[in-house]
């Protein structure tokens, strides 16, 4: 795809890709809802940053990724992990602090990992994984590996110096990276206007750092899919990095399973207006309308997902806690 087709174009994915996009978004949504439903039982004893409302960016990006491509994420990582093919039961067990967790319970929700799936790491210190991903890309190119690196971060992370420093280096060295900013307008309870210049985009920071940049509707999975098609393939073909910014919105509280409009930092109307643009439901309606899916397909997808998720939670709850000795393992490599 050319940049023009990627931005304004109306190229659509094939029907089976559309279905896959929908299935992937729905899966993340249902997993997150299952966490939300059970979180107040106080058995998942770690902070969780729920990504409901933000399912489209990782879904549209991952549709263009291959297994050997690597993904880096921050605190709101569940969607990035699942979309890249991260093992779902291992993620749920990790949140429960169990020995079957993807990090043996040592990391929790904020430190997901699935190396087989190419989901390299997630960490909650803002912007911290951005430079790490840049280093991966730098090493991959030196070692002649066919690998695209995708680095996800929020609008808040772009205020850290390390973000700018990493972008600069990636631009100077034309590294095979897609930087993906999910701009959801808030950093915890602080709105964008308090933190960044008025009427600006994050995307503006691409060109001065030597890379193309685009922004798009982060609630429209096909818009994401088009931009990602361009950026991922460019990186794969030696065209260097791209900065993508997706405008989207978080539905739940910053950290935890609840609605938080009572806090007053954002209005219920604002939340409702974004819910009306739900990335999952609007896409479902579109696919029904254009005949890509029918009711029977939707129902069978829901049922399959429901079974998969219930099984993951049952397995996580039945998984043993790590033994006390595990505390002292892994401090240094053996």
């Amino acid at each position: 795809m050319t940049p023009k087709a990627a931005i304004g174009g109306n190229t659509r994915p094939e029907i089976d890709v559309r279905r896959e996009l929908y299935r992937s978004m729905l899966r993340t949504r249902r997993v997150e809802e299952a966490i939300v439903d059970r979180y107040t039982e106080q058995e998942m004893r770690c902070p969780v940053h729920i990504c409901i409302g933000q399912e489209a960016p990782p879904t549209g990006i991952s549709a263009h990724l291959q297994k050997q491509d690597h993904v880096y994420s921050a605190h709101r990582s569940h969607g990035h992990y699942l979309a890249k093919g991260g093992d779902m039961p291992a993620m749920i067990a990790e949140i429960y602090g169990k020995s079957d967790g993807c990090a043996v319970g040592k990391g929790g929700s904020q430190h997901l990992i699935d190396l087989d799936a190419g989901f390299i790491c997630s960490a909650p210190i803002l912007a911290s994984t951005i430079s790490v991903g840049v280093g991966d890309a730098w090493a991959a190119r030196r070692r002649g590996e066919d690998r695209v690196i995708v680095i996800y971060f929020g609008d808040g992370s772009t205020e850290e110096g390390a973000f700018h420093e990493a972008l600069n280096f990636a631009g100077v060295n034309k590294l095979p990276i897609v930087f993906v900013c999910e701009n959801n307008l808030y950093s915890v309870h602080t709105s964008l206007e308090t933190r960044q210049p008025e009427n600006q985009t994050v995307r503006r920071l691409g060109p001065p750092n030597g890379m193309e940049s685009f922004d798009g509707d982060g609630n429209d999975v096909e818009a994401v899919w088009r931009l990602a098609d361009y950026a991922v393939n460019k990186a794969r073909n030696g065209g260097g990095p791209t900065l993508l910014e997706f405008h989207t919105y978080r539905w739940m509280e910053h950290c935890g399973p609840l609605d938080d409009t009572h806090l007053g930092y954002r209005s219920a109307e604002e939340l409702e207006s974004w819910k009306a643009r739900c990335p999952v439901d609007t896409y479902r309606d579109r696919l029904i309308q254009d005949g890509s899916v029918d009711q029977a397909w939707l129902e069978s997808e829901e049922e399959t997902l429901h079974k998969e998720i219930e099984a993951a939670f049952t397995a996580a709850q039945n998984s043993p806690f790590p033994e006390a000795e595990e505390l002292f393992r892994h401090v240094y490599p053996e």
């Binding site: 040592k106 904020q110 909650p124 850290e160 950093s187 602080t190 308090t194 806090l263 595990e326 002292f328």
Partner: protein, 350 residues
């Protein structure tokens, strides 16, 4: 009767009174004017002191610390707040290379009256990057003062002292102290930096502790009392400058020493305290000092692992008994299902 308020309320009151009494005081940090106000410690301050003095900031800890250093060296008295000490790690350059050395390096001509509040945590799966206890890092840097108040009274008085101090002061606050109440005078007062305090007098063994570990030490002292051992608890309150005199005086009296700290034991502040005792009171020591702290591993997230990671009062009691050559069995009060909360009212995430 003196008024009782919670630790977090005492911190808020200290900041309110500093803002009230000195136009040059500002409070800045992520979420400071926000609806939850850094666990309540800055909540609604913006209503009384306005957005020019109670400020949010971009997620730019490094540059914002340098920025406040610049403001402080030009006469302001900023209070910077970090929800977790782990975020302050991004501000080490301006703190360590600059602020700490400003006064010395410029021949006494510059001052950096900057106060940086950092919260350390425990439990509820905060894990490797949200619950470190880095007091020893800061204490290692000449030019920084490091305070770790334990009681609500000291939280208020020491924060006021910190703001009025012309040196950069790091205030390390343990999240599990926030809900603890204590008598706190309503007026503005200073609790001196650099002075430890005997929380509980005793004659058999000295337990030196700071912050939340001091509360554990008090509990341990009760367990020891039941076993006929009379422990003295010395609450450090300030890490640097260290009150060596009080440590030495107490060890001279009891002849035995246990140090309890919320940080990693190895290369932690406990080593310095043992050293102070050995240097100042070796002739009085009747047995080898012991210490209780975290093992040298990152904080695990799983509650099943953090249960074995954090020391409890019983570990301090056992260490104290061991300095008397006694191997005693202590019983802990029943806790609920989980060990990762200070009391059942504490629910996550936080």
């Amino acid at each position: 009767m003196t008024r009782e308020i919670k630790y977090f309320e005492a911190l808020r009151e200290a900041q309110a009174q500093c803002l009230e009494s000195d136009r040059d005081v500002v409070v800045m940090g992520l979420g400071v004017p926000g609806p939850t106000g850094v666990f309540g410690t800055t909540k609604n301050l913006i209503d009384d002191y306005g957005p020019d003095r109670v400020l949010d900031m971009p997620s730019s800890e490094n540059a914002m610390t340098g920025m406040l250093l610049g403001a402080s060296s030009n006469g302001m008295r900023p209070i910077m707040v970090h929800m977790r000490v782990d975020f302050a790690v991004l501000s080490m350059e301006p703190l360590v290379n600059q602020a700490a050395k400003w006064h010395y390096m410029y021949g006494g001509k510059m001052r950096a009256p900057l106060t940086v509040r950092m919260i350390i945590g425990q439990g509820w799966g905060q894990g490797p990057q949200h619950s470190q206890a880095l007091q020893a890092w800061f204490a290692h840097i000449p030019g920084l003062k490091v305070i770790m108040p334990t009681t609500a009274h000291d939280a208020k008085g020491m924060l006021i002292s910190a703001v009025r101090d012309d040196a950069p002061v790091i205030s390390i606050e343990h999240r599990w102290l926030y809900g603890v109440s204590g008598a706190v005078p309503e007026e503005m007062y200073e609790t001196p930096i650099g002075k430890a305090r005997i929380m509980r007098p005793g004659k058999d063994v000295t337990i030196v502790a700071a912050s939340y570990a001091s509360l554990l030490a008090l509990r341990a002292a009760e367990m020891l009392a039941d076993a006929g051992i009379d422990a003295e608890v010395l609450d450090l309150r300030t890490i640097t400058p260290l009150d060596r005199e009080s440590i030495v005086a107490s060890v001279r009296k009891t002849g035995r020493l246990v140090v309890a700290d919320t940080g990693t034991a190895e290369f932690g502040i406990s080593a310095e305290i043992v050293c102070a005792a050995v240097e100042g009171a070796s002739e009085s020591l009747k047995s080898a000092p012991r210490r209780v702290g975290l093992p040298s591993v990152p904080t695990p997230t799983s509650p099943a692992l953090s249960e074995h990671f954090y020391p409890r009062a019983i570990h301090i009691a056992e260490a104290a008994a061991a300095t008397l050559g006694a191997k005693l069995q202590f019983t802990e009060p029943e806790t609920g299902k989980w060990h990762d909360v200070p009391d059942p009212s504490f629910t996550g995430p936080y």
